[in-house]
């Protein structure tokens, strides 16, 4: 290690390492076609009234702002912004010289229209923008969002993957709830929809008039829709795909991609999604009204084993109602209940449920969101059977599942993937707020959990402008919910990305693959 030759070599290496990114930053290569894969074909590429398309929307529509990896807002269509001291008015200065794909100029009227349209038609926008009373447009380049109550989460809800800014002149006459079709795919974004072949792919071409010159670097993005995991894996191996998210190949196969000469595995987690899998108890089931039974179930589950076997390591233990992926708000004091079959058995015995002759104590119906790997349900079922709970699973397709849990309430336990998105008020409150126990409303308070103190904390946090005070409110919330056990929080799955090693900057900020791809380029 101490030979002068070695030192020289080391110095040279360090130098090369310093030079290389600098050279790259100077001259990103123009051109190339990016082939991006989605698992399911969405009804529209737009996130205007649809939550299944966060990865395509930003390519066509910009947001007011975008975010760095720590959720710090960065300018996009808004160049600067300010909040009034009472927390009730956000003023945005808008970018000059921006035009839509059809050549019409972008103005504050489009911002006002889009925010109100998101409030009316976006599944989460109804909550996020619930306090918006009006959007003032004092001039063409200024928009003021006026609120009835402070909404501290608003500033993180304005990314292009969540709140796209659409042209008023196109959408004014367009139905609020209908998914926008190709004629409505007109935005200010870096790519223009050229064609959409249903059941196969969509072609997005470079927007030559994009405001952020010289971006975008790519000539074209092809979005392919491939529902079969094996087909996606084969296409990646054949070199037909460059990029895909949400674990596009089976996790069991991931090990092979780690050493792939052409492909890379990216396991960063992104603050905008807040992935979380949890079990909700139906507290209307008499046997589950007993806290000892719910605690016993929590003790019967080995969360680390779930990460290791079901997710092959591609998840993190996430024991609190606020996902560990939301590092700003997750309270590390909340830790999983100890995995111990003896404790679980003891609690169930104490609760007055002895084992019958066949070794079982009582039956429970276990449902699971079909977007979750069925192996997680099998793992939970077998863990419960081990402590004498005769759990049976049902394979339901998505519609039947939503109806079974949220309308018919024909379940005792359900494994949900209630993602926390970018803020607990938007993503977590819906599952625990007693006023959100609404039969028939998907992804609401399925447990029928009612705790006045939790309601108070959630409602206070929703309007608390001071981040430190807000964090304390959410910490108290997490501790109470963890003690009450209306749910057992399990894991936060990693949103594994497979990417061609030659592409750069496909997920710059908190939005992950919801990035607008304007900075994506190939290197040699």
């Amino acid at each position: 290690m101490k030979s002068p030759v070695f030192k020289a070599a080391a110095a040279l290496l360090v130098g090369a390492a310093l030079l290389a990114p600098a050279a790259e930053a100077q001259q990103p290569k123009h051109g190339g076609t990016l082939r991006f894969v989605m698992k399911y074909e969405p009804p529209t590429l737009s996130a205007l009234n649809n939550t299944s398309t966060p990865t395509t929307s930003a390519k066509v529509w910009d947001g007011l702002v975008t975010y760095d990896a720590d959720l710090k807002p960065l300018p996009m269509l808004a160049t600067s912004w300010s909040l009034s001291p009472d927390g009730l008015q956000y003023t945005f200065s808008l970018r000059e010289g921006v035009t839509f794909h059809d050549g019409k100029p972008f103005t504050s009227a489009d911002v006002a229209f889009s925010i109100l349209r998101l409030k009316a038609g976006h599944p989460r926008g109804r909550g996020t923008f619930a306090n918006v009373t009006e959007v003032k447009t004092p001039d063409a380049k200024t928009a003021v969002i006026v609120l009835s109550k402070p909404s501290p989460y608003l500033m993180v809800a304005l990314g292009p993957s969540e709140s796209p800014i659409v042209p008023k002149h196109v959408f004014e006459s367009f139905d609020v709830a209908t998914p926008p079709g190709p004629p409505q795919h007109i935005g200010t974004g870096p790519f223009v929809l050229k064609e959409w072949v249903r059941g196969s792919h969509a072609v997005l071409d470079r927007n030559p008039n994009y405001w952020d010159k010289p971006k975008p670097y790519l000539d074209r993005v092809i979005v392919r829709f491939m529902p079969d995991a094996a087909a996606r894996a084969a296409a990646f191996e054949a070199g037909d795909l460059d990029l895909g998210g949400l674990a596009p190949v089976p996790l069991s196969d991931m090990e092979r991609y780690k050493n792939h000469p052409r492909l890379a595995v990216d396991t960063r987690s992104f603050a905008y999604t807040g992935a979380q899998n949890q079990i909700f108890f139906n507290l209307d089931t008499p046997i589950l009204k007993e806290k000892k039974v719910r605690e016993a179930i929590a003790h019967a589950l080995d969360l680390q084993a779930i990460v290791d076997t079901v997710f092959y390591g591609y998840a993190k233990v996430s024991p609190s109602p606020i996902s560990v992926a939301l590092s700003t708000w997750y309270d590390p004091a909340v830790q999983p209940r100890k995995f111990d079959v003896n404790i679980a058995n003891k609690l169930l015995d104490e609760a007055g449920h002895p084992r019958a002759a066949n070794g079982m104590r009582f039956p429970l119906r276990l449902l699971f969101n079909p977007f979750i790997d069925a192996r997680l349900a099998e793992f939970v079922r077998q863990s419960l059977r081990r402590v004498g709970i005769d759990a049976t699973t049902q394979n339901l397709e998505f519609g039947a599942y939503v109806k079974g849990v949220y309308t018919d309430r024909a379940f005792d336990l359900t494994i949900e993937s209630l993602t926390n998105v970018f803020d607990p008020t938007v993503g977590v409150q819906r599952g625990y707020w007693s006023k959100n126990f609404r039969v028939g409303l998907p992804f609401s308070n399925s447990a029928h959990y009612e705790n006045p103190e939790v309601d108070r904390l959630l409602e206070a946090a929703a309007v608390e402008v001071d981040p430190a005070k807000r964090k304390e409110l959410f910490s108290q919330f997490q501790r109470i919910v963890h003690a009450d056990v209306p749910s057992v929080d399990l894991v936060s799955p990693l949103e594994v990305i497979i990417a061609n090693k030659k592409i750069r900057n496909y997920a710059r900020g908190a939005e992950g693959l919801g990035d607008n791809f304007s900075d994506v380029h190939f290197v040699d």
């Binding site: 995991a229 094996a230 089976p250 069991s252 196969d253 090990e255 092979r256 076997t309 079901v310 069925a374 192996r375 349900a377 099998e378 793992f379 079922r381 077998q382 059977r385 081990r386 049976t392 699973t393 049902q394 394979n395 339901l396 397709e397």
Partner: protein
């Protein structure tokens, strides 16, 4: 068939014919091997709770043990650490139960419909033939998927679903047999003696129509096992019971890294279905004297 059926039934030398058929069957070595294999599978299925008393779905060891790696788990373990050998043994139960029960139900429906259509003819025949055609013109596996998806996948619903898509084959076969048999002398004789329709159908004609039904039944058991496997492979099996198809479906994701998870239950299905088809062929030879004498 010709010699037996042209007599008045009371005079039928049934035992003679049965013995001859059995002898013919036993002279066919592949039939004997196939039968022995099926007997073995059946015994294993019956003895499953004795061989592996524990729930075959329970996670008993570390995941991805290869066959032979640990003598305690001779066929290895799957992605969640479940014993593949236990799954194979318990899976034979579901496969055989569904195969045999679906066949029995389908054959019963088929015989009732086919016999009524063939025996009575006329409008009843027209109506029942239309019904059979409705079922036969719908792709049977698609219909099965729809039926099971609506009824929620459980062993009972899968069995009924398979029976509902297989009965038309039997119905057409039975109808054809009845149409040719109803004009025979022994049937005319039975009518002349004043027997009722039910007695003529079930006591006089049906026994004479049985040989082709028996042959087809063995093939139907095989195809029912395949259909259940295909359903389970697609995730439409009973999630709380292990079957060979569900083992293949679960192992499919790891086909490249742990091929034994699909190969082991796959071989079990292939051998069982092959055995049933060989028995079907042998039965066909044995029960059809004309064919066997031609050889």
């Amino acid at each position: 068939m010709t010699t037996a059926t042209e007599r008045v039934p009371e005079a039928m030398p049934e035992s003679d014919g049965a013995w001859r058929s059995l002898r013919a069957f036993l002279r066919n070595p592949s039939a004997v091997i196939a039968s022995l294999f099926l007997v073995f599978v059946t015994l294993v299925a019956i003895a499953a709770p004795l061989i592996y008393p524990e729930d075959p779905l329970s996670m008993v060891t570390r995941p991805f043990l290869w066959p032979g790696q640990n003598p305690q788990f001779p066929l290895g373990s799957d992605t969640l650490g479940r014993d593949v050998a236990a799954g194979l043994v318990w899976g034979s139960r579901i496969s055989l139960i569904i195969g045999i029960a679906a066949m029995a139900l389908g054959v019963t429906i088929g015989i009732v419909v086919g016999a009524a259509a063939g025996y009575f003819g006329g409008r009843i025949d027209d109506a029942l033939v239309r019904l059979v055609e409705i079922f036969q013109t719908t792709p049977s596996f698609l219909m099965l998927i729809v039926l099971v998806a609506i009824a929620e996948p459980r062993v009972e619903s899968i069995t009924v679903g398979i029976a509902l898509v297989t009965w038309p084959t039997i119905a057409r076969l039975v109808r054809a047999e009845f149409r040719s048999l109803r004009e025979k002398d022994f049937v005319t004789a039975a009518r002349g003696l004043g027997y009722g329709h039910l007695r003529i159908i079930f006591i006089e004609i049906l026994p004479n129509a049985l040989p082709p039904i028996i042959v087809t039944s063995s093939v139907i058991v095989a195809s029912a096992i395949l259909m259940e496997s295909a359903l389970a492979f697609m995730g439409l099996g009973d999630p709380n019971r292990i079957s060979w198809g569900s083992m293949i479906g679960a192992g499919r994701e790891t086909l490249r890294t742990a091929w034994y998870l699909t190969a082991v239950p796959g071989v079990a299905i292939v051998l069982t279905v092959l055995a049933l088809n060989m028995i079907g062929d042998a039965l066909n030879d044995a029960l059809n004297p004309r064919l066997s004498s031609e050889r």
